[in-house]
């Protein structure tokens, strides 16, 4: 028996040895076949340009109700009444985009792909500024690279300094030669470096202009940036959508057509363009939104009031497939020549009023051309006294009003609205306003629930009425 035991022990011991040797190979199968460890630069470029467009839409879908382009067909809808909503999805997509840009910039830097690095920096500036403009202080310096589990919140003003650094560095990187040019993986410009540089300058102008209420405001610097910015609508930064993936505003219109209601136009926008508020009918209205097919008129919904007893279909103006902003393959506008012209008008207003006035008119023209308005209609509109009031009667209000029309559905409109303290003509608080706002307009988005639960210790204590640094 003892011998048998011994033999067994020996056999097992040998078995264990043999096993240990073969085991390692047998178990070495944990390399992920589904996800690669490295991402190609062009793959990151595809995703970041696309997601930047998507983020513009995501923020726009919220802010468009705040600036009353759109209104909910349902009464007291949270989106209209400026409720205390948690925008987890928008937040996480903004950070996803910045994370991918972070990786793209680092990888491009390592491999000497300076154009990718530069474009990445410009896109980073864009996404970071969108985030700050919506949320104020946000994590960044300790973020993106997994340095800590709970990144601290950086001061919003500090972050703007970084936005400008990214833009400057981006422009510098793009201005050099490269061995690894950007190609069709770039949904903005298909690798056209000059256009990227112009975008960098245009964005510089945009973000400098955000500082209008602050002591930092420098119209000269803005105008200098504009000189190197867009030269025509051809330069616009935009993503044209795909057969595989429709423009998200088109999707809203399609869904609405199928009674998943959305994309209803605010009465504010209708009245501003149909002649009610300003006494001039804006031809753009027919290129942007639908008429109700019952009475053949443009009818809007009062924000917060809902559609009342109106039918859910063909009773109010909505986004519709076929229009400039909401067709399947429409471009999603990120930064336009028209917007730049209005920035120029605003910056030049105090310095060089005639430059300002001309830029204002050019801005209107650029936008009208962009969305396909007939030349004759453009001239009719421009020549109307309400539009061409002459340099003497020309005020900052005219710039804000026309810029508001030209930024249709764009989140920049909410930045303007806050800088302008929502003082557009005839612009009222929504009905059934969130009572916490004490009859004031919303000034920021609240931090999303995900941050509340995962990064609570760092979370700044703010309300919807606390302002972003440039709004104070």
């Amino acid at each position: 028996m003892k011998l048998v035991r011994k033999i067994y022990n020996y056999a097992i011991f040998t078995g264990v040895l043999l096993f240990a040797a073969s085991c390692e190979d047998y178990l070495d199968i944990n390399e992920n076949p589904n996800n690669p460890v490295d991402a190609p630069l062009n793959g990151l470029m595809v995703n970041t340009t696309f997601e930047t467009a998507q983020n513009t839409y995501r923020l726009g879908s919220t802010t468009s109700n705040y600036v009353q382009y759109l209104a909910s067909p349902n009464q007291a809808s949270s989106s209209d009444i400026m409720d205390d909503l948690s925008f987890n999805n928008t937040w996480s997509n903004l950070y996803n985009a910045m994370t991918d840009l972070n990786d793209m910039i680092l990888e491009a830097n390592e491999t000497g792909a300076n154009h990718y690095e530069g474009a990445g920096q410009i896109l980073m500036a864009l996404n970071l500024a969108m985030t700050v403009d919506a949320f104020g202080d946000v994590p960044f310096s300790e973020g993106l690279n997994f340095e800590t589990l709970t990144p601290a919140y950086d001061d919003d003003q500090e972050l703007y300094t970084q936005v400008f650094e990214y833009l400057d560095n981006g422009i510098a990187n793009l201005s050099q030669e490269t061995d690894l040019p950007i190609d069709e993986d770039d949904f903005f410009f298909e690798g056209d470096t000059d256009q990227w540089i112009k975008l960098g300058n245009m964005l510089k102008a945009r973000y400098l202009n955000h500082l209008s209420k602050t002591g930092e405001y420098s119209p000269e610097e803005i105008l200098a940036a504009i000189d190197n910015g867009f030269e025509s609508n051809e330069d616009d930064a935009q993503v044209v959508y795909f057969d595989e993936e429709y423009n998200p505003w088109a999707q809203v219109a399609i869904d609405n057509e199928n009674l998943l209601l959305g994309g209803w136009i605010s009465e504010q926008f209708i009245e501003a363009t149909d002649g009610t508020t300003f006494g001039v009918e804006d031809p753009r209205i027919s290129y942007m939104i639908s008429k109700d097919t019952i009475g053949g008129e443009y009818i809007g919904v009062v924000n917060g009031a809902g559609r009342g007893s109106a039918a859910e279909q063909y009773s109010r103006s909505t986004l519709e497939v076929g229009d400039f902003y909401s067709s399947e393959l429409s471009p999603l506008l990120i930064a336009t020549y028209a917007e730049q012209k209005f920035i120029e008008a605003e910056a030049a207003f105090e310095i060089d009023k005639s430059r300002s006035y001309n830029a204002y008119l050019d801005g209107i023209r650029a936008h009208m051309t962009k969305i396909g308005v007939e030349d004759s209609e453009i001239e009719d509109y421009i020549s109307d006294d309400a539009v061409s009031m002459g340099e003497g009667n020309f005020t900052i209000d005219h710039i804000f009003k026309e810029k508001w029309v030209a930024l249709f559905l764009h989140p920049e409109a909410w930045v303007d609205a806050r800088r302008y303290d929502y003082s557009y003509d005839n612009f009222d608080l929504p009905e059934n306003l969130n009572p916490d706002l004490n009859n004031q307009f919303i000034r920021r988005l609240r931090y999303p629930d995900s941050e509340v639960s995962r990064n609570r210790s760092n979370l700044p204590d703010v309300t919807l009425l606390d302002r972003i640094f440039w709004d104070e």
Binding site: N35, P36, V37, F50, A76, T99, P151, A311, S450
Partner: protein, 1031 residues
């Protein structure tokens, strides 16, 4: 018992005894004490010799023995007696039935049978008839209320819908962890995963894979609870194991059994709803309004529209479910071979229209005994299961939006388009056309070779496979192309999902038995265990059908697809030593080392031991007569745990939107896996006692346990600003401790009548001991509520698993540091006269029951038998999402006070009592004040506290009455046996919960967010009629 006999036989054969005394012949008769019937087949041995005899058919025996010898009488199912020979030549004795009887042998790891009394840990075995009696098509449900410390929860009442099984609490901080035990059939583990319809898709109530098993094939199920019981299955059984033994043929005549049953089911509880107020808003009637119930009362509506009526669309939309279950089996064999073969079919239609599920299975079990040394057994099962899974969540939600002033069943126009009121999708139309069909084809099988070259040695090799494909087709039609239609989807889509999963288990073990003395025996088992799972899933989605109603991927305008491949391997070496001293003291030591493919090499080998001790003290010390058997037991065990494949490091992924314009985009994957990931470790200790009184008429089994799982591998949810949203790392510890009682009794036992009672109850206490520095909480899940009434389930250090967080009413004098809502404090009433809402997330309840248990009663009288099973849970709260919708939409019965004026009870900021009168209605109140959307929409629906309710229940889970035809009738019909029975499930539900059966929850069996009752498939009650025939 069996082992004891063989031990005696062993002694009888090998022990050499010298005999000096004068031998003579002793004769006598052995009878059964309770009824005096003669007992054949009793073994009689002269103690300490190899001399033996067996009683004949009349219980008579004859044996050679001398004065002073001790005769040992033993028989399976009876207590062993010893009688000393003292001059008499005739010894007649009676034997007492042993209530533990045949179930004393239980099946443990790898299908090894062990004497229950030899075990140092708690086990509880359920017999096949107790499973089929419940009429549950899903074997997991069949365990409901029957085993102590085992919590079974139906995720809903859909046909084939998954049921969740948790043993002794949740052991993982990972919200995505499957905390369910390993399922083992005939020694080989099988897959019991639940693959839900996927995130972003509406819930469909899919099946857990154990539902593929035909309950009629089961001989017994045994739940191994502690880590001690499962040390030999390794990592995969870290949450316990359910050991299933299927039926096998017996030597003798061929037996044929037929069973046929029909069942009907209905919703067992509806929420209380109001039927006074109709469509409109602000008390104004509008037949096109989005609002189904904020209009005026039906009396006022009838002044405008005399034909108007308010229907109970909830009841109208449901139907009576029907199920048919037919099964057939044949078995038989001889000394050399035996077999069991079965075929069964189950078809079930659920209470929500168009929900259905079915299962067809065929099994063949066989065993060939070539010689004393070599035998082979094989089991094979083929099953097809699946059905149409309706979008129940959407169905229930849409009932909220649909006006009750319509006939909800009038949902389709003649041209096939949907009839809808307002903008609403009719839920029945959706259930009919938004189909989700699954079909699982599954083969499970194993072969077991046993070679016994020597008396003291067995070599076993078990190899088994579990292979299935799960084909799923989800179709949502687009527009049919008919003018004016309201389509279900603007484009329509088809998703084809193909899952294939293959498990292979190989297990080689050698068993060595040795008797050191006649009192000391040892069994040593050493073995090697290899597991591999190869899994692949492919999804293809086509959007926008080119030809309406022609549903094929090839004819869609946009295609997208995805693929997921996974492979996992585990290798284990184990040893198991059992020491048995005098059938009184049992010591069991196990040790195991596992190597896994899923952890970083270097960290992927882990060792864990266990030890347990059982002491049958009634064999050792004098005890009072009323105590017939007593055992103390204790165990200590560790078990390691690995993780899923591919969790380590940082990767990139291509989002499903690509390719776009021929380009594929990449994004950083949201998870980051710790490069130094180590195995988790669970340590558990357990003490218990098993006592039998009054000749085994009363039994008490008590267990205390505590288990700690440390170094958990969890995806810690981290701020997305870090660049990841989850960090997979070793963090945290969770502790479960509790007690379990099992009380069994036979209060009455006469010749014709017998009453057996089993009561089990278990208390579990859970604590999240730690998480990780810097991480305050882990979200297990969240469920939507309007305007800040969304609730979450969070894990927080020092608190229990299952806490539900949400908004509440502000309390006067509340402790600002307390996470718990103190409901006893007065509510703070604001300047506007309404209660002040507190948006801080406080703990409003906990969804893990404190106590669970069941009471089973079996009565038999001649041919009749009656049994009923009651089960209960207490100390449990859930979020009632329906109630939130019912408040927001004025459906709940309590919203009948919508036009009342009241003074809210509570205090003002300064502590003085509130006296302000307010109106609850919408618009301008009687006091001229504008109340906007009214109390329910402005306030009530926004406070989670209003919807977190006590979800305790007591259920009459099953009652069944059967009659076995007796000889007189059987003689007249061509059957050996015949039985008819009626059964009812869940016919009594006693619960404080207002709503559908609180047992349904949203997450499905694989999910851990059990606090959200959501818009689940309503629970049901059912009635069955069954006929069994034997040939």
């Amino acid at each position: 018992m069996k082992n004891k006999i063989s031990l005696i036989a062993f002694l009888a054969i090998f022990q050499i005894t010298t005999l000096f005394a004068q031998e003579r012949t002793i004769t006598g008769q052995v009878t059964i004490e309770s009824d005096g019937m003669p007992l054949p087949g009793v073994n009689i041995v002269v103690k300490g010799t190899n001399q033996g005899a067996v009683t004949d058919m009349d219980g008579n025996y004859s044996i050679e023995a001398s004065d002073g010898d001790v005769l040992v009488f033993s028989s399976i199912g009876f207590e062993t007696r010893e009688i000393e020979v003292s001059g008499d030549s005739e010894i007649n004795i009676t034997l007492t039935e042993d209530l533990e009887g045949l179930d004393e042998v239980v099946v443990t790891s790898f299908g090894i049978e062990r004497e229950k009394k030899a075990l140092g840990y708690a086990v509880q075995e359920i017999q096949g008839e107790d499973i089929t009696q419940t009429k549950q098509p899903n074997i997991v449900n069949a365990l409901q209320g029957q085993t102590a410390g085992v919590q079974i929860t139906n995720s809903g009442g859909a046909p084939g819908q998954s049921a969740r099984i948790i043993i002794r609490g949740v052991n993982s901080l990972d919200p995505g962890a499957d905390n369910q035990p390993l399922f083992v059939i005939d020694g080989v583990p099988i897959d019991n995963s639940t693959t839900e319809s996927g995130s972003g898709n509406t819930p469909r109530g899919l099946s857990n894979r154990a539902a593929d098993i035909n309950p009629n094939d089961i001989a017994s199920m045994n739940v191994l609870k502690g880590a001690a019981a499962t040390a030999l299955y390794g990592v995969r059984a870290a949450n316990g194991a359910v050991i299933i033994t299927t039926k096998k043929g017996k030597a003798g005549d061929v037996q044929i059994n037929l069973s046929s049953s029909i069942g009907f089911e209905e919703v067992n509880q509806y929420p209380k709803i109001q039927d006074t107020y109709g469509q409109g808003f602000g008390g104004e009637y509008d037949p096109n309004s989005f609002w189904p119930n904020w209009g005026p009362s039906i009396d006022e509506i009838r002044e405008i529209d005399p034909d108007a009526e308010i229907n109970n669309i909830w009841k109208d939309a449901m139907r009576t479910g029907v199920q048919f279950d037919n099964s057939f089996n044949i078995s038989g064999g001889n000394e050399k071979a035996n077999f069991y073969a079965s075929v069964s079919n189950l078809d079930q239609e659920g209470i929500i229209p168009f929900s259905e599920w079915g299962r067809t299975s065929a099994r063949l079990n066989g065993e060939l005994i070539f010689s004393d040394q070599f035998k082979v057994a094989g089991n094979m099962n083929y099953a097809i299961s699946g059905g149409n899974r309706v979008p129940h969540d959407r169905f229930m939600e849409r009932l909220v939006y649909n006006t009750p002033m319509q006939d909800i069943n009038d949902y389709i126009n003649e041209d096939g388009t949907m009839k809808s009121i307002g903008t609403n999708t009719n839920p029945i139309y959706d259930a009919r056309f938004s189909t989700f069909e699954d079909e699982v084809n599954r083969i499970t099988g194993n072969l077991k070779f046993t070679y016994s070259p020597f008396e003291w040695m067995d070599v076993n090799y078990l190899i088994g496979t579990d292979y299935y494909t799960d084909s799923r087709t989800e179709i949502t039609p687009g527009p049919l192309g008919i003018e004016g239609e309201v389509p279900l989807d603007s484009q329509g889509f088809i998703t084809e999902t193909r899952i294939s999963s293959r498990d292979i288990n190989s297990n080689l073990f050698v068993t060595l038995n040795k008797s050191w003395t006649d009192k000391l025996n040892t069994t040593l088992r050493i073995g090697n265990d290899i597991f591999e799972r190869d899994y692949e899933r492919v999804d293809a989605t086509g959007t926008e059908f080119v030809i309406p109603q022609f549903y094929d991927l090839s004819y869609t305008s946009q295609l997208s697809n995805s693929q997921d491949k996974r492979k996992r391997r585990l290798v284990g070496l184990y040893g198991d030593l059992l020491v048995d001293y005098d059938s009184m003291l049992f010591l069991n030591i196990t040790a195991r080392n596992d190597w896994t493919s899923t952890l970083p090499i270097g960290n992927n080998s882990f060792f864990y031991p266990s030890v347990n001790l059982g002491w049958v003290f009634t064999e050792a010390v004098e005890v009072p007569d009323f105590l017939s058997y007593g055992k103390l037991r204790g165990s200590y065990a560790e078990v390691g745990k690995d993780t899923d494949p591919y969790k380590i490091g940082q990767t990139y992924t291509a989002p499903s939107v690509y390719p776009l314009g021929g380009q594929v985009g990449f994004t950083r994957f949201e998870e980051y896996g710790d490069l130094g990931l180590r195995p988790e470790r669970t340590t558990s200790i357990e003490f218990g006692t098993d006592l039998r009184f009054f000749e085994n008429r009363l039994g008490v089994d008590f267990t205390w346990y505590k288990s700690n799982s440390k170094d958990q591998i969890i995806p810690v949810p981290i701020s997305e600003t870090t660049g990841f949203s989850e960090f997979i790392t070793n963090a945290g510890e969770i502790e479960n401790s509790g007690v379990e009682f099992i009380i069994t009794g036979t209060p009455i036992h006469t010749e014709d009548f017998r009453w057996d009672v089993t009561l089990n109850a278990a208390y579990n206490q859970n604590e999240v001991v730690s998480i990780r520095e810097g991480i305050e909480q882990i979200e297990v899940g969240s469920q939507f509520g309007y305007v800040g009434s969304t609730v979450t389930q969070q894990l927080i250090e020092g608190e229990a698993y299952g806490n539900i967080f949400g908004s509440s009413y502000e309390r006067f004098g509340a402790d600002e540091n307390s996470l718990h809502l103190n409901e006893d404090l007065p509510q703070v009433i604001g300047e506007n006269g309404f209660p002040v809402r507190n948006g801080d997330q406080l703990i409003l309840g906990n969804s893990t029951p404190k106590w669970i248990g069941g009471l089973k009663n079996d009565f038999s009288y001649k041919g009749f038998d009656l049994s009923f099973l009651i089960d209960f849970r207490t100390g449990v709260e859930q979020y009632n999402q329906y109630d939130m919708f019912f408040s927001a939409f004025g459906i709940a019965e309590y919203t009948l006070d919508r036009n009342d004026t009241k003074v809210f009870e509570g205090v003002l900021e300064d502590g003085s009592p509130n006296t302000q009168q307010v109106w609850l209605g919408q618009g301008e109140g009687p006091d001229g004040r504008d109340y906007g959307a009214g109390f329910y929409r402005n306030s009530h629906r926004t406070v989670s506290e209003n919807f977190v309710h006590d979800a305790s229940f007591v259920k009459l889970r099953n009652v069944s009455l059967g009659y076995n035809f007796q000889d007189g009738i059987l003689d007249a019909i061509p059957f050996e046996s015949a039985r008819i029975s009626v059964a009812a499930n869940n016919i009594i539900l006693y619960t404080p919960w207002d709503g559908f059966d609180p047992e349904s929850f949203s997450a499905g069996a694989g999910g851990n967010a059990t606090g959200f009752s959501g818009l689940g498939y309503p629970g049901v009650q059912s009635f069955f009629f069954t006929l069994n025939l034997g040939l």
